[in-house]
Amino acid sequence: MTFDPIDLGSFWMPKQSSTIAQEIDTAYYIVYWLDVVMFFALMVPLAWFMYRYKRRTAKDKVSDITHSTTLEITWTIIPSILVIGLFFVGLSGWMKAMVAPGNALEIRTTAEMYMWTFTYPNGNVSVNELVVPKGQPVKLIMSSKDVLHSFFVPEFRVKQDVVPGTYTTVWFEATENRDTILFCTEYCGVGHSDMLAKVRVMDKADYDNWQETGLMPGEKPLPPAELGKKLYATRSCNTCHSLDGSRIQGPTFKGVFGRTEQIADGSSVKVDENYIRESLLEPNKKVVSGYPAVMPTYKGLLKETDIDALIAYLKTVQ
């Protein structure tokens, strides 16, 4: 990784990178310090009694007090007040986390085994990379194509399950101009722990420029093979296709261009421009024998120039 996926803000918590984070951390530290005090309030007497009342003779006198109504009422009422207080502390931050501001930028988010797809208001799509402007509320409208997933960005302190058959939402306003990571936190099968995405927070102007041109801040248009190399990583081809000949979910890309592949139905196909294009758009039409037909279609996710770039890149992987 070229960046610190989670930047630590303190011993316990990551850096606060959203507007809601501070509120949640405050609640965290309220219960934390209350717990520390209560823990010592229990353990100091325990340690003292262990020392003070250690058995010395077989005939030690023991206290015959069996109960004390005053004590018992005290230690019922005080904790009751404390925990009800905690409930309201938790409720207050949570209500802010649940209600998105009306001016939020809405991004459609789709989770599936095992990738995240983000569709921006103008129709642009990014895969396993969520790009958001700094200082603007963002609301994700999420659904799942298959099983339960969950959207979690530690630096933002937000989490929400993504459920098939319904929409759930989550919102945040990023405050730090940096990259971080989002996790899937609801167990979703064999690729669960690899279902990560990068969250890129940039200035509003850079975000608008990226929406317009597909160029990240400071980026110049790339020659096709280099753009293809980048897409290989950013569009998660690397999750399933290796460059070094090793077998992952799908066939390796090492020396793939010009190779003749055995197809599941018994025929064979030479990997050329047309086969690569077809495999991107209709991946399950000609699946290489011995591999599961699990590749999602990239139709609508890649522009024609992206496809050309990937082809150019695959020619160079030898």
């Binding site: 996926p5 316990w12 918590m13 990551p14 609640a27 965290y28 219960v31 717990d35 823990f39 229990l42 007497p45 325990l46 009694f49 262990m50 009342y53 250690k54 058995r55 030690d60 006198k61 023991v62 007090i65 069996t66 109960h67 004390s68 230690w75 019922t76 904790p79 009751s80 925990v83 905690l86 409930f87 938790g90 949570w94 986390a97 649940m98 085994m113 298959d146 099983v147 339960l148 979690f152 530690p154 630096e155 302190r157 989490k159 399950d161 459920v163 098939p164 058959g165 319904t166 759930t168 990571i181 996790f183 899937c184 609801e186 167990y187 064999v190 690729g191 669960h192 722990s193 690899d194």
Partner: protein
């Protein structure tokens, strides 16, 4: 001896002296067809320890895999099976039946002065149902494993996973009946078979905890049964209860599941609290402080446990109002739990504390349960849970409650009652070594995971970010210390069966009825039904003078 013709100090006549439930009859068949609650308790004990060993081996494998950020010893699908089987074996084979079915079965009738449970044959049937369920679960392991997590969340479990989900869930379904029947048996036994003079408020508090547990078992377990049956139908016949592509609702499954499984958490912890109470009272040689408060707090926990399941679902997509109500109610579990904590301290106050091995476990229980309980407050708070839900913080929290508290209480109880059950004393020094390594290894392994969790490490991850690696490695080293502790404890107890000194009837100076019969007890517990004249934990005047 000159006085062999008369009764001994326990009132045993010559005919029964030397005879006990272990040697009264011999042979495997006499055990498999026994209706003696003590033999059934011992068979449960052996079974749950096997379940614990199985779950423990998977635990060590899971931790070993997590030593490095990428592949260490197994691939992702093997890892998913390993953590699923660790969870399922620990929950269903070990921790739910552990204390009630083994120690409870053995000691409940003894502690109320009864000959047996109310329905001895039903008791045997419970054991067989447990075994049958266990066989289905083991069959799932050998026929492709299970990779759904012990919660069997849909639609992954109902439609996507290719593993032996039906066999595993059917196993749990059958074991549910075992749990229900044991609960039913205990409730009736406590109502009908108490010895003369043994009023409700004279019962040892372990029995109050078993009573509360039994109520939950009888009321909640059927819901799990129905839920798992629906899951099996969904998977086999695609009926569309839970699967959204068939018009079902995956969140409904979570409601059903946690409606059982949250009370089940108290099926696990309440008996542990009861055992801890016995250990503390015996070794402080003191009447329990606030007897009624402890008794009623058990019942209160049982009742509140039915109202809080939704706190597992704050981020599931359930309505915000539901989450707020569930959060509010959840905090009410903290109050009776806190009351118990203070009463246990009150029991030590002014006592005469002897640090036997069981007492070490009892004190460790107080320490670990305090951490387990207090960290639960973080997760009950709506906003804080947004960050901590499904991270290692949750893993650490429930291990402190379920393992740190319940399992530690179970092993404390095992040492406490081992002389009574087996008639043998164990090697005190070796038992202390086992305890110390367990205690250190446990905190080493799991306290680390609180830090992993707050920093954002999600649970059930096979691969993880490099930046979490040092803490994961540290936690894994702790698990080896923990495993060694349990191994030594096991060796110590097993060795005592061969080389242990004979146990006296009352090695710790206990005040409850089970210490008033021989070690091991005779087949029908007491030759003459005891008559109870003292309050719970009260000692005769000449002893306390």
């Amino acid at each position: 001896m000159a006085n062999t013709a008369t009764v001994d100090e326990l009132g045993h006549s010559p005919e029964v002296r030397g005879k006990n439930y272990l040697n009264q009859t011999a042979g495997v068949w006499s055990w498999l067809t026994t209706v003696d609650h003590k033999r059934i308790g011992i068979m449960y004990l052996v079974s749950v320890l096997v379940g614990f060993g199985l779950g423990g081996i998977f635990a060590l494998l899971v931790r070993l895999e997590l030593l490095t950020a990428k592949k260490t010893i197994m691939d992702a699908s093997q890892y998913n099976q390993a953590f699923t089987l660790h969870g399922a074996a620990m929950v269903f084979l070990f921790i739910i039946p552990s204390i009630p079915a083994s120690l409870g079965n053995f000691f409940l009738p003894l502690m109320i002065g009864a000959k047996d449970v109310a329905f001895p044959r039903l008791n045997l049937l419970s054991l067989y149902l447990y075994w049958i369920g266990a066989i289905f679960m083991l069959a799932a392991i050998v026929t492709g494993g299970v990779d759904t997590g012990w919660t069997f969340y849909v639609p992954y479990a109902s439609g996507v996973s290719t593993t032996s989900v039906i066999s595993a869930t059917f196993g749990v379904f059958v074991m549910g009946f075992s749990s229900i029947l044991t609960g039913l048996n205990f409730i009736v036994t406590l109502h009908k078979l108490r010895a003369p003079g043994m009023s409700w408020y004279r019962m040892p508090l372990f029995l109050w905890s078993l009573y509360a547990t039994s109520i939950i078992q009888v009321l909640a377990t059927p819901v799990l049964g129905i839920t798992l049956l629906l899951l099996i139908f969904e998977r086999a016949f695609h009926i569309g209860i839970f699967d959204p592509t068939l018009g079902g609702d995956p969140v409904l499954f979570q409601h059903f599941f946690w409606f059982y499984s949250h009370p089940a958490v108290y099926i696990m912890i309440l008996p542990g609290m009861g055992v801890a109470t016995e250990i503390l009272a015996t070794n402080a040689r003191r009447r329990v402080f606030g007897y009624k408060a402890i008794a009623f707090s058990s019942v209160a926990i049982a009742l509140v446990s039915f109202l809080v399941w939704g706190h597992h679902m704050f981020v599931s997509g359930q309505s915000e109002l539901s989450s707020a109500i569930f959060s509010f109610l959840t905090f009410f579990v903290a109050i009776p739990s806190g009351v118990k904590m203070f009463n246990w301290l009150g029991t030590l106050w002014g006592g005469s504390i002897r640090f036997t091995v069981p007492m070490l476990y009892g004190i460790a229980f107080l320490f670990l349960f305090a951490i387990g309980g207090l960290t639960g407050l973080f997760l009950g708070m709506l906003s804080v849970d947004l960050h901590l839900h499904d991270t290692y913080f949750v893993v650490a929290h429930f291990h402190y409650v379920m393992m740190g508290s319940t399992a530690i209480a179970f092993f404390g109880g095992l040492h406490h009652w081992w002389p009574k059950m087996t008639g043998k004393m164990y090697d005190e020094k070796l038992a202390r070594v086992g305890f110390a390594l367990t205690f250190i290894g446990f905190n080493w392994t799991f306290f680390t995971q609180f830090i992993l969790g707050t920093r954002g490490m999600p649970r059930r991850y096979y691969n993880y970010l490099d930046q979490f690696q040092p803490l994961h490695a540290f936690s894994t080293y702790g698990s080896w210390v923990l495993g060694t502790g349990f191994l030594i404890t096991f060796i110590c107890l097993a060795r005592s069966l061969k080389t242990g000194a004979p146990a006296p009837a009352d090695p710790w100076g206990g005040a409850t009825l089970e210490w008033k019969t021989a070690s091991p007890p005779i087949t029908e517990n007491f030759e003459k039904a005891p008559i109870v004249t003292l309050d719970a934990y009260e000692r005769p005047a000449e002893e306390t003078a």
